[in-house]
Symmetry: C2
Subunit: 300 residues, 2 copies
Amino acid sequence: MSLLIVGSIALDSIDTPLEKHTDMLGGSASYAAIAASFFCPVRLVGVVGTDFPKPFTELFSRFKIDTEGLKYEEGKTFRWHGKYEWDYNTRSTLSVDLNVFEKFNPVLPASYQSSPYVLLANIHPALQMNVFNQVKNPKFVVADTMDLWINIAQEDLRALLRKVDMLILNDSEAREFTKETSLIRAGRKMLGMGPQYVIIKKGEHGSLLFGDNKFFSAGAYPLEDLHDPTGAGDTFAGALMGHLAGTGGDITFEAIRKGIIYGSTLASFNVEAFSLGRLQTVTQEQISERFEKLKLYSQF
Amino acid sequence: MSLLIVGSIALDSIDTPLEKHTDMLGGSASYAAIAASFFCPVRLVGVVGTDFPKPFTELFSRFKIDTEGLKYEEGKTFRWHGKYEWDYNTRSTLSVDLNVFEKFNPVLPASYQSSPYVLLANIHPALQMNVFNQVKNPKFVVADTMDLWINIAQEDLRALLRKVDMLILNDSEAREFTKETSLIRAGRKMLGMGPQYVIIKKGEHGSLLFGDNKFFSAGAYPLEDLHDPTGAGDTFAGALMGHLAGTGGDITFEAIRKGIIYGSTLASFNVEAFSLGRLQTVTQEQISERFEKLKLYSQF
């Protein structure tokens, strides 16, 4: 079944201690859409400027992503410039230019309005709510968020949480949002804010799933080297939702658990190259291989 | 089969944001020995002063720990005073008094010299080597270590690593020791220093096992509250080695994997109360229950 994804589409410039790259394809929706496309048909909602490079649009087409909901506005595409320190865990934003994203008012094409699965990738929670409100009777809706919205738009975020089925955020954000030191307490506290499931992403330490009075802890794929952590979380969310939409079955704790492992798998490929470089070359066979290895690495 | 454990035996004073306790039973060997005693016969090597409280000696007896190797020296027992910040991750040492531990020169009783399993719990690596050299043809020897020895006794530690079968240390220590950011690179690099297996402990994030060209990632037991993290690592190592000695079978990657889960299980109980309070009351049934839950929490 189809998965609707709304989020940012950006031109990223990234500095790591080893390399610098400018104006690469980025944004939460770009990563999530390409990752999800390995599992299900994807409908993309977003906005870019007239400077958006043609090869990037073609990339979406190559992955059979429906771009009827992708708006081209007069002006420049959203740009982000970030820098990673030597440990790749500390990231600082050098500049942000919202450009056409500033007045983004997503309007769903008629063909998108009955999408059964919805991924509200990381953007302002009011925009996420706007899209949510345009979808008729969705089967499963997931929101990804970040520290920025916890800090400047917490009321919007809390309103959204009363509507969606699952929340995804990372460990430091979970602690900040709930004011709890223990991630276990944090996860359970967020369940009380509305969503039936909560996923806390922990980067190199994997992720935790809460819900249905159950618990699941997933390890990350063991990588010796990473080249660009940008978009790992978006890729994780995209592949996870792609798996759920692709099977089209009931949303159970077990199904989400498996989706998390696909999320970890795709994210592990994504960080091996800048931008979407690695996701453009990864094969279904390589995905299956890492999925099976993750099973092996966690069994006892 | 029997497990020989050498390490520190201390009187700990601990301040947390919520409670303060003084002169409780502590030290790496105390935690490791009590934890291991749930799985196998334990032979303890250590030193205490004449002020060592009788109830603590009786506690070792109650857990059927062989204390023939426990020396009572004229003077005071080793004392440590530590403080935890509100997140329980930041620990500072307020004072250390080595006392009788300063001149500790372990001499194994004849009955200990053929111990098949040896846990060199966290003490100076030269003392660990001293004990190692007195054991005849051990089957499996594990060394636990800490940042202090990496900083002030690295040559002794490296010499020890060429002799032992497995090294256990935590994530920040692994990074410090190997100068690697990636724990995966760090783990593999330490395999090159001698031991056949390396375990990196990650506290709330579980642990990683390297060796036999294999990899295993274990999640921690999900706890909402912890009261005193002291000795969690020693408890982990004790239960892990206790499991291996208790079954007495071949040391395989699979056996160590299972031992790690027992280590995580016992450590999860240990942090629920100060000192060895929780390990004194935990039952075999409760241990089995958490072991099974950890299996459930990691399966997909």
